[in-house]
């Protein structure tokens, strides 16, 4: 049986040399250019990872006792990389950059023993590639966590129901209406209708970027549900482009619609028998600003 490379020995003897080669590679790739990470920090990370890589490489099988700790360390590293805004290739390059330095060290250590170098290189490549994949996976996972958190925040921001007057509610919708949000919106609106015994609800869609057939259907559902509770709905804030698109698509909202929230409020006040009038100058409130 051919002799195998003594990785522990090689790395112990040539530690500084390997780390220097690794750092040079990373610097050449521009890891420091963006200023997101400092040279000293990078150096200590390299040292920590190398100390864990050594037993993993020395182990004959795929998974050594150090594997778990190694993958945890790398996962933590790439998570922080992802949060700092590094690209996926920069993150993977951190691990892959160890290869040239390591191979250089092995070649120098076993000069003249071609077979041994080839076998050691192949083995190390396989293991390091697996580590690079671990970092990429962790990177991806942490990016997805960010997306999920943002989604949750957006849905929490959504849809307050505002009382404009006794018996008049406004529902300013912002963002796209999908079925999940429609459900929340509908429940909020109906509960508010019960709580405030509102007669009219104004649904303002100024903040809805696009209205396609699906969104229109969701709007109509909300209107129908409010009607079943005995409240009329007025839709306001349909922007000119959206109105055009809706007509082109053949979407019809068979509800009262007004161009602006102000018009809708005027209509609502009229329906509940209220009127807004100018106050004669003599009766106007005194000006306290002077």
């Amino acid at each position: 049986m051919a002799a195998t490379a003594d990785w522990n020995g090689v790395i112990a003897r040539r530690r500084d040399e390997i780390i220097q080669g690794w750092l040079n590679f990373l610097r050449a790739e521009g890891a420091l250019q963006t200023g997101r990470i400092k040279d000293a920090e990078l150096q200590s990370e390299c040292g920590r990872v190398l100390a864990l890589v050594a037993p993993d490489l020395a182990h004959a099988g795929d998974r050594s006792p150090a594997s778990d700790e190694l993958s945890q360390t790398l996962s933590a590293l790439s998570r922080s990389r992802a949060l700092q805004g590094f690209t996926p290739s920069e993150t993977a390059n951190f691990v892959l950059g160890l290869k040239p330095a390591l191979f250089g060290a092995v070649a120098a250590e076993y000069a003249g023993q071609g077979d041994l170098i080839a076998a050691a290189t192949l083995d190390a490549t396989r293991k390091l590639d697996r580590l690079a994949l671990i970092t990429i996976e962790a990177y991806q996972r942490s990016r997805e966590e960010v997306i999920i958190r943002q989604q949750r925040e957006i849905s929490e921001l959504s849809t307050p129901v505002v009382k404009l007057w006794d018996g008049i509610l406004a529902l300013p919708l912002i963002g796209t209406l999908d079925s999940e949000r429609t459900q929340v919106v509908m429940e909020n609106l109906l509960q508010s209708i019960v709580d405030t015994s509102a007669e009219i609800a104004i649904i303002d869609i100024t903040g809805v970027p696009t209205v396609d057939t699906l969104v229109a259907q969701h709007l109509l559902k909300t209107v129908a549900a409010a009607r079943l509770m005995g409240a009329d709905c007025v839709v306001s804030g349909i922007r000119p482009q959206i109105a055009q698109t809706m007509v082109h698509l053949g979407v019809e909202l068979n509800v009262v619609s007004k161009a602006s929230l102000a018009d809708a409020l005027a209509l609502a006040l009229q329906r509940i028998g209220k009127r807004v009038t100018d106050v004669p100058q003599a009766l106007a409130a005194p000006d306290y600003s002077r």
Binding site: M186, I193, K221, R227, L228, M229, G230, A231
Partner: protein, 128 residues
């Protein structure tokens, strides 16, 4: 079998559903109501479903039917007090009860019916 009482209040009939509706009860109600409208010449029907927690497509359709039958006998139907969850269920079932008038509570429903009765004054020979 128990039946749902139908109360006469002036020109309107008041029905308060306070038990879980099952299909036979609903059918019995439809029959009783039709007979009562014909007998009393009522002009409005007010159905209070504020204690109704569960509706299915059958009950939804029955409400629609009652409204259609009442209209044929010249009485308006107003459904009042629907719960939010019930409203959402009906809409999801595709039953938006377009033929039925709705109001938030009994008081508002009565106002709706009275408004119609005032409008009808000229034709029925009665003035209120």
């Amino acid at each position: 079998m128990d039946r749902i009482p139908i109360l006469k209040m002036g020109d309107a009939l008041l029905i308060t559903i306070q038990v879980d509706m099952h299909d036979r009860l609903a059918l019995a109600l439809e029959e009783d109501l039709t007979a009562k409208i014909a007998a009393t010449r009522a002009k409005g029907v007010l159905i209070d479903i504020s204690s109704l927690e569960i509706v299915d497509s059958f009950i939804g359709r029955m409400l629609d039917n009652i409204a259609a039958v009442s209209r044929m006998l010249d009485a308006d139907t107003v459904v009042v007090g629907m719960r939010p969850a019930v409203a959402i269920t009906l809409v999801e079932l595709g039953l938006s009860l377009t033929g039925v008038k709705t109001a938030l509570n009994v008081e508002r429903g009565m106002l709706l019916i009275q408004k119609r009765l005032r409008g009808l004054g000229d034709f029925s020979g009665r003035r209120s």
